[in-house]
């Protein structure tokens, strides 16, 4: 009876680079930590599952519907397909509390079966979707839509600030009900949403150095906190990797860290405004065996028509540009992040 989505089999591995999590509580259990992604609200674990991976409860809190007086089982089945794993489950409803904001009757997916290791290894315990309702698995109403409907927020706006601090101990923030001017400089540039699913916008041009290299006649992109890197069509990204001097190394594209100062900027022209990423912004630096390792923040991902092709301005981009998501006027606001 489970409706499996057969539309795509692209290897979706974005969770590999996930670094941002937030506390989230479904009454009355302990906090769990979801990933912000798409428009699904899903919990990985449910206690009634006999099919659940035995490693699961060791790495994730298990959800106990029977312990909640406010829980209601809706019963619809849902399925989410990932390239390296999948999950199926049922829809339930309960209070969902995020930092003191309590949403009543929030429907969410409770995972019953998770083949493979994808969601066992992943540190996050669920997904808190921030997209439009059309994107929601199982047809549930997303959390922020319920926040708006229940008048929990003054403005139909949420914002994301991702700190560039590589240690990440400080102050990244999701803001419901508005935005915080202290997190960006100058004024927000508002960009109309072109398709209400993901937060999709139009790109005018993409430049490498001072040369227009991609998107000559305009193209489409999504601003997506659930994507860690900056993705684009695979053949374009291959050209881009070559343009910045990245070469294959152990299955991923990397650069010589000593070359950061000579690598080109990559600029996205959006609604007439330039958004420039320096090499320090689009190269991910890491220590491997005490040696500095510099991997490319660009990744090829082909999204077939009619949804694609799409560029995905993920965390690599949002770390540099504070992002405001305005459901009232269906627009995205961007401005340079204050470090």
């Amino acid at each position: 009876s489970c409706q499996m989505d057969q539309s795509t089999n692209e290897p979706l591995i974005n969770y590999l680079d996930l670094t941002s999590k937030k506390p989230w509580q479904v009454f009355p259990r302990a906090p769990i930590f979801p990933l912000l992604w798409g428009a699904t609200l899903s919990l990985w674990g449910r206690d009634q599952s006999s099919e659940q991976n035995s490693c699961f409860s060791e790495t994730h809190p298990v959800f106990h519907p029977s312990q909640s007086s406010t829980y209601e089982e809706v019963g619809n089945r849902f399925s989410i397909q990932y390239g390296t794993g999948s999950l199926t489950g049922i829809i339930g409803a309960d209070q969902v509390s995020v930092e003191g904001l309590t949403v009543e009757g929030q429907q969410f997916g409770e995972s019953v079966k998770e083949p493979g290791q994808t969601f066992v290894n992943a540190e996050f315990d669920g997904i808190l979707g921030l997209g439009y309702p059309s994107l929601a698995a199982g047809g549930v109403t997303p959390v922020f839509d319920n926040m708006m409907a229940q008048n929990l927020v003054d403005l139909p706006i949420f914002s994301v600030y991702l700190s560039s601090d590589p240690q990440g101990s400080s102050d990244s923030e999701l803001t419901f009900g508005g935005y915080d001017p202290s997190h960006f400089s100058g004024t927000l540039n508002w960009i109309p949403v072109t398709k209400q699913g993901y937060w999709q916008i139009a790109l005018d041009r993409i430049l490498v150095g001072n040369t227009v290299m991609f998107c000559y006649e305009g193209c489409q992109a999504i601003v997506d906190t659930g994507t860690s890197l900056l993705n684009g069509p695979s053949h374009k990204i291959k050209e881009l990797q070559e343009a910045i001097g990245a070469t294959p190394m152990d299955g991923e594209y990397a650069v010589n860290c000593a070359n950061l100062n000579t690598m080109p900027n990559v600029t996205f022209l959006i609604n007439g405004v330039s958004y420039t990423l320096s090499p320090n912004a689009y190269i991910l630096q890491d220590l491997v065996d005490g040696m500095q390792f510099c991997s490319s923040g660009f990744q090829g991902l082909d999204i077939p028509p009619p949804a694609g092709p799409l560029w995905i301005l993920g965390d690599v981009f949002i770390r540099q540009f504070y992002a405001v998501f305005d459901r009232g006027n269906n627009q995205v606001g961007l401005a340079p992040t204050v470090p």
Partner: protein, 39 residues
């Protein structure tokens, strides 16, 4: 009035696998060739 939700940054799974020298094995186990995939 805005509601602030602090976000915590964790070491990514990719970094952990890379640090343990297991990233190549991961691509193989998942039948993924990220270089080929990108191409």
């Amino acid at each position: 009035a805005v509601h602030r939700v602090p976000l915590r940054r964790h070491q990514s799974v990719r970094k952990k696998l890379r640090a343990q020298g297991l990233l190549s094995d991961f691509w193989k186990s998942q039948n993924l060739d990220m270089i080929q995939f990108t191409e």
